[in-house]
Amino acid sequence: MHQLLLAAHPPGSLGPLPALLAFNAEPLAHLRLLDIGVIAIYFVMVIWIGFYLKGRSNTSEEFFMAGREMTAWIAGLSFVSANLGSLELMGWAGSAYQYGILATHWYWIGAIPAMLFLGLVMMPFYYVCKTHSVPGYLDLRYGGHARSVAAFSFAIEMILMSGVNMFAMAVVMKVVLGWDITFSILVSSVAVAAYVGLGGLRSAIFNEVLQFVLIWGGALLVPILGLIQAGGVNGLKTRIIANMQSMSGVHSDSYFHLWRDTGSFASNPMGVHWTGIVFGLGFVISFGYWTTDFLVVQRVLAAHNLRAARMAPIIGSFFKMAVPFIVILPGLLGLVLLQNNDGSRRQLVGEDVVKACAAGEQTGLVDQSGCSSAMAKTTLPAAYQARVLSGAPDTELHSYNEALPLMMIRYLGPGLLGLGITALIAGFMSGMAGNVSAFSTVWTYDIYKPLINKRGSDSHYVLVGRLSILIGVAVSIGAAYLVMHMHGIMDYVQALFSIFVAPLLSVILFGMFWKRATALAGFLGLLLGIVFSASLFMWVKLEPSALASIALSPDAKPMAENVFRALWAFIFSAVVVVVISMLTKPKPVAELDGLVYGATVLPTEEPVPFFRNEYMWAILVVIIFAALNIIFW
């Protein structure tokens, strides 16, 4: 869900990454030949997969839907992997460093209920109506106008987000490894264009599964070794509490509680309230992303039968629940284990502090006023601040988002570091491949075919799909350079997802579960909902104090804005859909077969042993999910 996380610099975002460009420091690590070999072999493998699958991507069904022959395991892993981008990994590790395990909400309540709902409740409708895309479902349910609004907004969002992520990843590679920005952008985007352009969705899915394994293989060592060094979970806990006490004088174990301190905005480090977490994140944002964002839904639609399509998100949910082990835990471990070269504890700071201190460094003079006032807001020791201001060696500042790479560098030697970097690159490429493959399908099926050329042959649409991947990647590269030169637009691009998601969820839920919802209501609910959501975003952008009004508390922080904005936009769209539906004439029920609950006869599934039954596995997920929330209450 990194698109969402990046919005408005909430925790978990990589924030104003362009600031890092100004930071003319030495790269954090230098790769050895063995590391370069590990990375090069990965690129050879993904291109090989693309070439191998080219011969099996000749028809539109094969190219855009992977022939609808993925097993539940492959669709499920791909479903999770498309979301597990490297920016997400690094962003949330940084959030855990700042806010403790509250960041885990975005992996548990912010994902698991929605994934189960998609698999058990919504998937039958998506699957039975044989739509190629989520805008395609809107077309069948509400007509072409709603489809066009969804398709254009989704296509634009995908391409711009792909560009922003591409740029952000290139900046990370520059900071961590010293790689040239253009080199990183071109190599990664050409590789993605090659393997998705050649093998279509099947190639994207294959590579996502491969990338998922690599992410775990490359990142799993960090928490294992970190826990060993920290003295286990109890040692970690004790050291974090001691650190907190030494920095703030307060004895608090807030870092280890998911829910206990969310009774008020002021009592938890993230500045959120449980109502926002449950209704804004757990319902609107999470359901919006996991059940209506075509980037992830497309992976499940490629399953070979309805049971596999239902099982895929459930399988994915097991892995999603485990991701905090390689993301949140390294962030927490970084809080107590990262060290400066002199052996003192290394404290990470916000991007704004890095930026303020880098601005002076670039000119050869540390900007005393900007840098010192920025550092004054941190808990950096006074002596260290003085050393930074004096320009002493080995006093570079690192941002929260560098927690994961710094932990990798701490524990991973030659070869293993290459694997860790490959995991980050793989995460980036899986996210980008997801963006461009989803863009290609929506562009071809929901924009080109209905609006430009309705009578093309099957092979013509495959050609359009391949070309749209190339064009999509090219536009993404352009967007990446646009962001590099116009830093201000990054916030707006990153906010696109959070602006679209709530109205889309509202319209799809009413369409799927309310026979009375009409075509005009769907169209206006989506369009006006987007306008409303964008207006709330701009209101806070122009008048930051409006945050208190949107989140209903003067103590609210940016994360609260995201969740409450989504909640209000969802409610607004829902009101529009209900009111307009009551004023207009609905479709006959007979025309809603396969689209709406209560008007659809779902196919009967063959009985299977209990260990293959999706409900049994879903119950197990619910039990584990509940247990985790209770344990870390």
Binding site: L34, G37, V38, I41, Y42, M45, W48, I49, Y52, R56, G67, E69, M70, T71, I74, F206, V209, L210, V213, L214, G217, L221, L225, I228, Q229, H304, I409, R410, Y411, L412, G413, P414, G415, L416, L419
Partner: protein, 73 residues
């Protein structure tokens, strides 16, 4: 994956086997020569040896189980 062709698990097996061999080989070299990277922590655990071994064995298992012509049998 359904249908004919090389399963994705075979590709994964190949990659893990290669990585495992490279990392394990380096770990053995590092252990035998005692030349550890200076800034890396916990080198006494010989992580490349056992992690490379785990990756290699996992890769070997997947390569054998899902090798072309063998999958699904």
């Amino acid at each position: 994956m359904h249908g004919s062709g090389i399963p994705i698990w075979f590709f994964i097996g190949v990659l893990l086997l290669i990585y495992g061999a490279m990392i394990f080989g380096y770990g053995v070299f590092e252990w035998s020569t005692g030349s550890y990277p200076p800034l890396v922590q916990l080198t006494s655990l010989h992580t490349p040896v056992w992690w490379g071994g785990v990756l290699g064995l996992l890769g070997l298992f997947y390569v054998l189980k899902f090798r072309p012509g063998q999958a699904g049998k």
